[in-house]
Symmetry: C2
Amino acid sequence: MAKVTIIGAGLMGSAMAWPLSDRGHEVHLVGTHLDRATIQSCLERRWHPRLRKAIPEDVRPHFLEELDQVLQGSELILSGVNSLGIHWMAGVLADRVRPGQIVLGITKGLEVGPGGDVLILPEVLRAGIPLALRTSVDFAAIGGPCIAGELSARRQTCVMVGAEGKGTAERLAELLGTDYYHPVPTSDLLGLEVGVALKNAYTLAVGMAYGLLEKSGGPDDAGNSMHNLAAALFAQGCWEIRRILALVGASEAYAAGLPGAGDLYVTSMGGRTVRLGRLLGSGKSYAEARAIMVGETLEAAEIVTAMSRILPTWIGQGRVNRGDLPLLEALVEVVAGGKALDLPLGLFFG
Amino acid sequence: MAKVTIIGAGLMGSAMAWPLSDRGHEVHLVGTHLDRATIQSCLERRWHPRLRKAIPEDVRPHFLEELDQVLQGSELILSGVNSLGIHWMAGVLADRVRPGQIVLGITKGLEVGPGGDVLILPEVLRAGIPLALRTSVDFAAIGGPCIAGELSARRQTCVMVGAEGKGTAERLAELLGTDYYHPVPTSDLLGLEVGVALKNAYTLAVGMAYGLLEKSGGPDDAGNSMHNLAAALFAQGCWEIRRILALVGASEAYAAGLPGAGDLYVTSMGGRTVRLGRLLGSGKSYAEARAIMVGETLEAAEIVTAMSRILPTWIGQGRVNRGDLPLLEALVEVVAGGKALDLPLGLFFG
């Protein structure tokens, strides 16, 4: 059994306490400065207000001030912040990680690297720590279809856990797996991270179909929705994820697996990404939609914005041509370009 | 502009009259013996009772007795029956097709061929006609995410149209395409047909997740559903479709395209396949579920039953090992074996 420290008591970071605790580990849940009310509630009433559940008996909640002490002897550090917190996390970890520790990220996102290419978040975290430690600390990630609330309800869940070394990935799968949480190990960390980030972007498109339905007046007299269009966008999303995975040298098979189709499905079942897509589909500009959803973390928009800068790099390098990823290009136009939505269905599946 | 005859006035056959008519073709809708009330209504009131829509002005409805006359000069014959009607259709076409005609199937299904291998429905139709005609008549198919009602409401829809010759597929895309109906041509007819058939089987699995939710008492106090499990089953479905497409020599990329992920999405949004899956997930045996859904065409069950006979052939030929397709094997156990549901999540994505 291992000592595990979760940093960040948001939905997903906290939910990971359930399988880790059920697996018998010593689990410490450390809130960030944004999580003080959550930690207070966990300490006083053993109640997680956002997950609306009592936390497992042996999970130990902590305010951020206790982090240094808690990290000592932790085999596994789980980075539980969202993409807006990832640089804060890099700073927190910088002078605290020790050789042999594994940093496991749950954040979905993508950044633009120095050369204009894609930079996955485990690399962002790695880049923050002292050079001497970069090879002795593993930066891994979990991805795949997992709604945090369902995990805390111990619902059956399959995810992928990726690390650069197969051994680390397998060790993590061993550390995390329970009879309801099934982590599949992979050494294709890049494919996993690119897949789960992009699926957020393409979920916007699925949401757009239902926004277009609203704009057209809703279901017709015979009750017809716009599932055909949503499905076309869903499939084109998987299709483009496959293309991009191949382009970055990752396993294109994942487009038809947990990081692609599976995670796209679960994200399309509801939540803020679909809501943003609906607003855009219903005719709002990105600025208008953003204003309506003020205060919410819109990772999908961040990812599309990053892709608006990465795509020109790839095109410039001749790795992809303009028009090869028509749906992503359409999303870029809307989110980063502020343009009106124009779905080029005739170019799909080319 | 072409003369087109649709045989079968069910939901999907009839819905095809909309894009064909909008494209300017001379469209004849011929009911089978099961469609007499529908044709009567179309003739008397221009009203399609199942689609709950007025049929396009220039579509000409006919009773089956007029088929011979209508078929004369038809460039395109659309086979609009479901999988239970496919042998009836083969008999109807046997002495009626003429060289140069294209028979376009919309039926989703699979049969077991003479050698125990998979037989796609265009081949079933082809096998029914005189030897001399088998090379001069094209047997093509449409597949992909298309709810008939939405098509008749002229909702945006992307599908694939497959034929053995690229030229025929492209001709069909040209004949069928409108500003709301986007057929993507392919010469991988086998991949298209296997993909769209299998997605029906895997939709059962997605439905099972929600049946298991019902069995467990429904959403918990925090409102948690079972989308994580549904997504895992969705992804494993795509994953196995990919494996099977590779196994039969078809394009495995389609698992992440319209015939795989896209069609699986739209089918999972509701309808009788999901309903059957829910019943099985909630603890009913296949026989019990079948009895509850008496009178409904359960193509998914037919496809799983066909696969229960095809899988042993493939295993015997060493093309796949037992355990390589754990979800399909689980579906076979339930539907063809009458066993209780047991989802081997720990074997997924292996």
